[in-house]
C-alpha cells in the first residue's frame, strides 16, 4: 500500500539552531521596544533597583574583604577560599534546582513547545533553545550576587585586568555545569519515574536538600563537642568542619581557585581551571542535549498520558481542616479554600517551602544541644535576632514567590470569579488572609521553638510574636497589593511572574519593609539586652524599646492598610 517516500528537496535547506537565536533576539528586541514605547520608567526602575542590590552586595563584601586584608588575619586566605567554595557550591545547588524546575515548566507544560514539536525541527534544538532561556532566568541571581562579591574581592586584593577579563568566562562555563545537571535530572525524572510524578519531582528537590540538611546537622553536632573558643581556634575548627565544600572534584572548587589565581595574576593556574570548567560544562551540556534527543519527545508523550490525580468525590481531610480554621464568612472561606487547593496540589511549589522550613526547624531544635554549656546571654539574644531575621527573610522571599503572582494567575480565568456576586475587594482580602494565616501557621511555631531553645525572656518572646504577626500581615498585603497593581496576565508560570519587574520590585519593597520593622521593633530590645550589665538593662531603655515597637506597629498596620487599599482600588478598576 505504501509507496517509497520522496523527500521534499527543492528550495529547502537544513535547519540550524541559529533560528532560535534569531527568535530570542527578536523577542528580546521587541520586548525592549515595547518598554521604551510605553514608558521609560519601567526599564529605568529595573536598572536602578538592580544597581541598588549590586551596590549593597558590593559594599558589604568590599568592607568584609578589606577587613580581612587590613587585619592580616591568620588563615585569612584560606578563609576567603572557603567562603568562595561555599558561595559557589550553594549557587551551584540553587542553579541545579532552578534550571531543572524552569525547564520542566517550559519543556513539558507550555503551548510554545507543543507548537515547536509539531514542526520539522529536532528535539535537541528545541531543548537547546529552552535550556538557554531557563539558564538565563535562573542565573540572574548568580550574576547579581556573585558579580559584586567577586568585584569587591578583586578590588580589595588589587587584582590585575586578567581577572576582569576572565570572570565572565568563568561564570558562563560554571553555570553550564549545574544547569546541565538540572536538565538531566528533569529529563530522567519525566521519563523514568513511575506515576504520581509530581510528588516524585518534588521529592527530587526535597531529597537532595535533606542530604544537605544532614550534612549541616552533622557539622553542627560536631561543633558542640568541647568548648568553643573565639579566635584562631574557632576559625580553624570552622574551616575543618566545612571542608566538604572544598573538595577538589567539585566545580565550585575549580571556579573558586581559578578566580583567585586570576586575581593574583597566575595565568597558568587560572587557564587550567577555566579549561577544566569549560570542558566539563560543555560535556555536561552535550550529555543533556543527547539525552533530550533521545528522551524529550517520549517524556512529552509520557507526561500527556499519565493522569496524576485520582478522581475524588469526597472532600479531602486537609480541606475540611482548612475550612475549620477559615473565617466563618462562607464566600471568603470558599475563595481561600480555592487558593489553598491550588497551592497544595502543586508540590513543586510548596516542596521548596517545606525544605527550607525543615532545615530551620532542624537547626532551631538543635540549638540547645549545640551548646551543652550555657552560652552567654548576649549570644543568646544575638542568636534569637538572627533566627528571627532568617525566618522573616524566608517569609519575604516566599510571599514574593507565591503571593505576588496570585492575581496575575487569576487573569485568564477571572471571568469565573468576575461574574460571581462577590465584591472584587473580597477576592483580594481572601488572598491576603490566605497568605497571612499561611505565613503565620508555618513561622510562628518555629520562632517559639527558637526562643524556647535559647531561653529568651518573656518580653523578647512577646516582641518576636508581635513582630512576626505584623511582618506577616505587611508582607502579605504587599504581595497581594503590588501583585494587583502590577499584574502580568500573559505569563502562566508563577516563577517567571515572580522574577519579572513587578516581582522584583515587590521583593525589594518587602525587604526594605522587613528591615525597617526589625530595625524599629526588634533591634532596640536585642541591643538593650545584649549590652545590659549584671543589673539588667539601663533604666529608661524601655522607653526606646516600647517606642520602637509602637513605631513598628504603626508601620506594619499602615503598610497593610495602604497596600490593600491600593490593591482593592486597582482591582475595582481593572479590566480583564
Amino acid at each position: 500500500m505504501t509507496g517509497k517516500p520522496i523527500e521534499k528537496k527543492s528550495r529547502v535547506h537544513s535547519v540550524g539552531a541559529d533560528i532560535f537565536l534569531r527568535l530570542g533576539a527578536k523577542i528580546a528586541w521587541n520586548t525592549w521596544k515595547g518598554f521604551s514605547a510605553f514608558s521609560y520608567v519601567r526599564p529605568l526602575v529595573i536598572g536602578v533597583c538592580s544597581l541598588i542590590v549590586v551596590l549593597f552586595v558590593f559594599g558589604v563584601s568590599y568592607a568584609g574583604f578589606r577587613f580581612l586584608v587590613d587585619q592580616k588575619l591568620p588563615l585569612g586566605g584560606n578563609f576567603v577560599a572557603l567562603l568562595f567554595d561555599m558561595l559557589f557550591l550553594s549557587l551551584a545547588g540553587l542553579l541545579v534546582f532552578s534550571t531543572g524546575l524552569i525547564l520542566h515548566a517550559s519543556l513539558f507544560d507550555s503551548a510554545e513547545t507543543a507548537f515547536l514539536l509539531s514542526k520539522p525541527v529536532d528535539e535537541d534544538q528545541v531543548f537547546a533553545y529552552k535550556f538557554f532561556v531557563a539558564g538565563s532566568f535562573s542565573s540572574w541571581a548568580f550574576l547579581l550576587l556573585g558579580g559584586p562579591i567577586l568585584l569587591a574581592y578583586a578590588l580589595s586584593v588589587g587584582a590585575g585586568p586578567i581577572f576582569y577579563l576572565l570572570m565572565p568566562f568563568f561564570f558562563v562555563g560554571f553555570a553550564l555545569i549545574p544547569g546541565s545537571v538540572g536538565a538531566i535530572f528533569c529529563l530522567l525524572m519525566v521519563n523514568y519515574l513511575p506515576k504520581g510524578r509530581t510528588l516524585l519531582v518534588a521529592m527530587g528537590v526535597i531529597l537532595p536538600m535533606l542530604i544537605g540538611a544532614f550534612w549541616i546537622a552533622g557539622t553542627l553536632r560536631s561543633l558542640r563537642h568541647g568548648d568553643i573558643q573565639m579566635g584562631e581556634d574557632l576559625l580553624q575548627k570552622t574551616l575543618g568542619q566545612v571542608q566538604a565544600a572544598s573538595l577538589p572534584v567539585l566545580p565550585s572548587y575549580w571556579i573558586s581557585r581559578g578566580l583567585r589565581a586570576a586575581a593574583f595574576g597566575d595565568l597558568n593556574a587560572a587557564g587550567w581551571y577555566l579549561g577544566l570548567i569549560w570542558s566539563h560544562g560543555a560535556f555536561a551540556y552535550l550529555l543533556a542535549a543527547a539525552l533530550a534527543k533521545l528522551a524529550y519527545r517520549s517524556g512529552f508523550d509520557r507526561l500527556s498520558v499519565n493522569p496524576e490525580t485520582k478522581p475524588s468525590k469526597t472532600q479531602a481531610w486537609i480541606d475540611r481542616l482548612f475550612r475549620w480554621f477559615a473565617p466563618r464568612d462562607r464566600g471568603l472561606a470558599a475563595l481561600m479554600l480555592k487558593d489553598f487547593r491550588t497551592f497544595r496540589r502543586d508540590p513543586k511549589q510548596w516542596g521548596q517551602v517545606v525544605v527550607f522550613l525543615g532545615l530551620l526547624a532542624l537547626y532551631f531544635s538543635n540549638l540547645k544541644r549545640m551548646f551543652p554549656k550555657e552560652i552567654e546571654y548576649p549570644f543568646q539574644v544575638g542568636l534569637g535576632f538572627l533566627n528571627l531575621l532568617s525566618l522573616t527573610l524566608l517569609m519575604c522571599t516566599y510571599t514574593g514567590r507565591f503571593v505576588f503572582p496570585q492575581l496575575s494567575l487569576e487573569g485568564r480565568r477571572f471571568w469565573v470569579l468576575g461574574l460571581m456576586p462577590i465584591e472584587r475587594k473580597r477576592m483580594l482580602m481572601a488572598k491576603y488572609w490566605f497568605s497571612f494565616y499561611g505565613s503565620l501557621f508555618v513561622t510562628l511555631p518555629l520562632v517559639v521553638l527558637s526562643d524556647f531553645s535559647l531561653n529568651l525572656p518573656l518580653s523578647g518572646m512577646a516582641i518576636h510574636f508581635g513582630l512576626l504577626v505584623l511582618i506577616s500581615s505587611g508582607l502579605s498585603a504587599l504581595g497581594v497589593g503590588l501583585g494587583t497593581l502590577m499584574p502580568n496576565f500573559r505569563e502562566t508560570d508563577p516563577s517567571k511572574i515572580a522574577v519579572g519587574f513587578g516581582g522584583t520590585l515587590n521583593l525589594i519593597v518587602g525587604l526594605v519593609f522587613l528591615l525597617l520593622m526589625l530595625g524599629l521593633g526588634a533591634i532596640p530590645w536585642h541591643m538593650s539586652q545584649a549590652v545590659a550589665g549584671p543589673n539588667g538593662p539601663a533604666p529608661g531603655v524601655w522607653v526606646v524599646v516600647t517606642g520602637g515597637f509602637i513605631l513598628a506597629t504603626i508601620l506594619g498596620l499602615l503598610t497593610t492598610f495602604l497596600a490593600l487599599d491600593r490593591g482593592c482600588r486597582a482591582l475595582e478598576r481593572m479590566e480583564f
Partner: protein, 261 residues
C-alpha cells in the same frame, strides 16, 4: 514531494492508552492524497488524541502511523516537514509581528530566502494580513490570530494540512473564505484532515467522513455511505447523532449482559 501514488495518512492498528483507558482503540484509517477528510466525534471521543498522534506530539501505545510514507516514530522530522497543523487554540509569539512569525515558521521549514519571501507575500495576500502583518501579534483579535496561523500553515505548501476546529471565532466572511481555501488546497493535491463540530461545514466540504466514538472508528465513508449505515436519510446531524447513540446503546447492552451479540 512525497510519494505521489501512496496514501498521505496511514493509521494502522493504532491504540493510545491513558492510564489504562484507551483514548484511541485499534484504529485503522487510510486517507489518500488530495482528499478532504473530515473527522467527527462527540467530546472526549479521541479526535484530539488522534490528531496529536498524527502530528508526532503523542506516540501510539500500539500500531503504526505513516505520513507521506514516513513512519512517525522513526522518521518523524521528515513526516512533520510534509505537514502543517492548526490546533484549536493556536500558538503565536506575542512579542513577534505577524511577518516575523511567518518568517520564523519559514525558517523552521528551511525554506530558501527568496522562496520564503515569495510564499510569505502570497499567504499574506491570501489571508488578507497586509493591514496588520507588521504589528505585534499580542494586539491581534481571535480572527486575526486564526488567519495568521493558517497563513503560516500553508507557507511551505504542505502535503497534509491538519486542522482542528478551524471555524471557531471566525466571522461569516472568514468562514466562507476558509472553506474556499480548504477546498482549493484539496483540489491542488493537499490532503486536508479536518476535525470539526460544525456539521454544515463538514457536509459541504468533506470527500469522506470518519466518525469516532469512545476511541473507535464507528463510521467511515461519504455522507451517503453513512446515511446507509445509519439507515437514515436525514441530515448529517441526525445521522451523526444516530450512529453515536447506537454505539452508546450497544455498549450499555454489552456491559449489562456481557454478550456482544
Amino acid at each position: 514531494m512525497t510519494d505521489s501514488t501512496g496514501p498521505m495518512i496511514e493509521i494502522l492498528g493504532v491504540s493510545k492508552v491513558y492510564g489504562g483507558t484507551p483514548a484511541v482503540d485499534d484504529m485503522t484509517l487510510v486517507v489518500p492524497r488530495g482528499e478532504l477528510f473530515a473527522f467527527l466525534g462527540p467530546n472526549g471521543a479521541g479526535k484530539t488524541t488522534t490528531i496529536k498522534m498524527l502530528c508526532g506530539l503523542l506516540y501510539p501505545t500500539k500500531g503504526t502511523i505513516r505520513i507521506g510514507g514516513f513512519d512517525l516514530l522513526t522518521e518523524g522530522r521528515k513526516a512533520r516537514a510534509t505537514m502543517s497543523y492548526v490546533p484549536d487554540l493556536p500558538y503565536l509569539y506575542d512579542k513577534l509581528t505577524g511577518r516575523e512569525f511567518l518568517q520564523f515558521v519559514a525558517d523552521m521549514h528551511g525554506l530558501d530566502k527568496d522562496y520564503a519571501a515569495e510564499r510569505l507575500a502570497h499567504v499574506a495576500k491570501l489571508f488578507r494580513l497586509e493591514n496588520f502583518i507588521d504589528h505585534l501579534t499580542e494586539r491581534y483579535s481571535h480572527g486575526m490570530r486564526q488567519r495568521t496561523v493558517f497563513a503560516s500553515a500553508l507557507l511551505h505548501e504542505p502535503g497534509l494540512l491538519i486542522v482542528d476546529e478551524p471555524t471557531v471565532g471566525l466571522d461569516p466572511r472568514s468562514v466562507r473564505q476558509l472553506k474556499d481555501i480548504l477546498r482549493e488546497q484539496a483540489e491542488h493535491g493537499t490532503t486536508v484532515f479536518l476535525s470539526s463540530h460544525s456539521l454544515d461545514v463538514v457536509e459541504e466540504l468533506a470527500t469522506r467522513i470518519g466518525i469516532i466514538n469512545k476511541g473507535k472508528l464507528i463510521g467511515l465513508g461519504k455522507v451517503s455511505d453513512l446515511k446507509a449505515q445509519a439507515s437514515h436519510q436525514g441530515s448529517l446531524e441526525e445521522v451523526f447523532l444516530r450512529l453515536t447513540e447506537e454505539e452508546s446503546i450497544a455498549e450499555t447492552v454489552i456491559q449489562s449482559t456481557g454478550n456482544p451479540s
